[in-house]
Symmetry: D2
Subunit: 247 residues, 4 copies
Amino acid sequence: MASKAFYAVVAGVGAGTGRSVALRFAQSYPVVLLARKPESYQDIVSEIKQAGGEAFGFSTDTSDPSSVKSAFDSIKKELGDKKLAAAIYNVGAGFAVKPFLELTADDLEGSLGGSAKGLFNFAQATLPGLLESVGTAPHPPTLIITGATASVRGSARFATFAAGKFAARALGQSLAREFGPKGVHVAHVIVDGAIDIPRTKSYNVNEGKEDGKINSDAIADSYWHLHTQHRSSFTQELDLRPYVEKF
Amino acid sequence: MASKAFYAVVAGVGAGTGRSVALRFAQSYPVVLLARKPESYQDIVSEIKQAGGEAFGFSTDTSDPSSVKSAFDSIKKELGDKKLAAAIYNVGAGFAVKPFLELTADDLEGSLGGSAKGLFNFAQATLPGLLESVGTAPHPPTLIITGATASVRGSARFATFAAGKFAARALGQSLAREFGPKGVHVAHVIVDGAIDIPRTKSYNVNEGKEDGKINSDAIADSYWHLHTQHRSSFTQELDLRPYVEKF
Amino acid sequence: MASKAFYAVVAGVGAGTGRSVALRFAQSYPVVLLARKPESYQDIVSEIKQAGGEAFGFSTDTSDPSSVKSAFDSIKKELGDKKLAAAIYNVGAGFAVKPFLELTADDLEGSLGGSAKGLFNFAQATLPGLLESVGTAPHPPTLIITGATASVRGSARFATFAAGKFAARALGQSLAREFGPKGVHVAHVIVDGAIDIPRTKSYNVNEGKEDGKINSDAIADSYWHLHTQHRSSFTQELDLRPYVEKF
Amino acid sequence: MASKAFYAVVAGVGAGTGRSVALRFAQSYPVVLLARKPESYQDIVSEIKQAGGEAFGFSTDTSDPSSVKSAFDSIKKELGDKKLAAAIYNVGAGFAVKPFLELTADDLEGSLGGSAKGLFNFAQATLPGLLESVGTAPHPPTLIITGATASVRGSARFATFAAGKFAARALGQSLAREFGPKGVHVAHVIVDGAIDIPRTKSYNVNEGKEDGKINSDAIADSYWHLHTQHRSSFTQELDLRPYVEKF
């Protein structure tokens, strides 16, 4: 029961979670992909179209309010009167692993910019549309935020990365408490493990055990489940990790 | 793709979550229902059978190791060589809301008995079977524990109830960390709200708003999602609450 | 400014935290020591007396309501009209580290008995006295509960021990929320590391680094600080761990 | 036993916590006060001097790396070869309580700037000095961070304020895990209540009950306790709240 009247938007696409989530939501909605560079979304747009879906890509720097505004102007122009069913914030940013005294103001800015400011801009751009869809969309309109281990744990050498991820979790909680009662489902997902993508092929995690890295299609299944939850039973936060992950 | 070679067992059935979970899992597996009294499971067994499924009920006091042992002996006799795919611990017990100095040793015993000892006995009875099913079951064998707000918050006047629920959460975490790496998915669900069942009809929660109480079928959908998660992406804990719930 | 009109009671004394806490509180109050066996408190009673303090020991099994009742009857007889200023629950119990399927019902009972039921009995016996002292005691009357890493984390192989410790933390939260507004300070302390006592001499923790095990006198200093906090600024929970501890 | 060879620095002083902490640490150390405007520290400097202590004030915008650098250059010039014993980050910033869609990029920037970037700059400026003092200072060198309810809870309408406070807590955890093993004590304090200062006189909290707002001298006592903890028994996080506060 794909819907043509509603669309989904995914910010932060590339090889892993973003791509899988876009493909999953494209089974039911036209999907808009946002990424800084066209090469991050072009192949996914093609892939979705070849599978019979609708997809659109826009170059956007979510940490820049005017870039986000311009992207959503373009979305409006391109998608016309379609309404927003789901918005996924999956922008990865500011990953720096260094002794604290070697971290720079730029490392911190990068993390806060991508994780906190980007989410702030994205939420301000999408929440009015999500609110508008309450009551008419096939499922409760949904905003999902991709978090990480560093969303709930400030590890040694991860100071700036964790700062951004904690901040994003705070935003997610505030939004859930404000917009839940209005019918918008805001969920935060703690992805606690390495994703199985080409870039992580060489990572030696969980002793190289089979399925020791997270299959991003499995993440997408959980995001879709979140989206389809009945409004009497919303999940605000869940964790995802490989069965062999230490935690 | 219902499986006849595997079964699910649900401890703690009645009007709400247990019934919905049993019905949901019965779409794919023969289901065994455990409750203290036959009247708690008889109607659900009939309902599943009428819908074309298989169901069995056994009177069991999960807080009593010998009663649990006897139930699983009966299950073995009745279900023969079927293997265990999923075990859900949903026993409600020890709900007492009183000033601390009015709570009795029995209130505490009731809560620890139903929430902690019962889960301990149930987990010891089911984990060997779940381990045996690893690799052959349609989905990673799963143990799901029903928690509550009191699993993560000791509120005033809820001392004994929270003690049992915290203890069950501890057991769940330990089991997840020990059995996850062996392929068994152990998940704990925080049900943070009143369930919409006949007994709660008169509860005035969330200002009587529509869907202000949790639809137990929606809970069952999330339990089923947990059961079907890929082993590279297990959720250990999630919360479920009505969109209008304060938290 | 030692007070003779008020006393403190410490349940669970032996070589480590209990002894240090008793000595620390004995600088200001007569102290009552509770332990199962006289050999656990006799030397500490002598030590306090030799230092010019007052101390009393009673054999008590805190997990048994009648044993606790009898102990507090004896306290009343012995200490007459002294009022209660502080109660510390430091009973260690149920420490079992085993694969889950090797744990027994007795392991669970031991942990729940010592950590949850014992605290329940102790709190019921001491809270009336603590309430009575509100407003007249030198500091806000205080109930302090000794927790452990297992109070907030269910590790693999620690299932039963964590169950008891989680339950005790739940009780502590409920009591803090109920009795804080009445003027009684209820605090829970997470002792996250090995204590430096004869029994742990051989433990190889933190690579044998100096001060890699917790000095129990340092714990006692923090307990005393909790006891002396102003009622406008109560701590409900704090952690204590060696500087070199991983967490 | 005041030390003249070591000093303490407090960033963020005014009527409440900062002033009390400065006065408390000035009983043992010369104290440096940092605030944006001289009027925030001048009276406290005088108060400390009149009490026989040593105090210095420097106008500093902690969110600006060059301002922080310049302040610490001035400190070095003024205090010569004194070494750093304690650094307290108490900068309040970015407090905005509004519906999310009315919050602005500036609200977010203000919160992240004061809470996250300011702490980052302050920690980079003080940690080298704290490390240098390990082993010679009277107590383990200490970095204390003032947090709030919003450090652990993103409430509705507090999105940007919570983002900054969560980020600061992340930094605190990372620093504790990196610098604890090197001998520097990093602690985060959750101040969960209104402080009793002139500005909050009109706040109607906790039904106006006596001591329903936090006495900032009581906070300072807990900060001093943190500073004097033995290195085998460091607290990483504690909460402080009035006995009548709901939580």
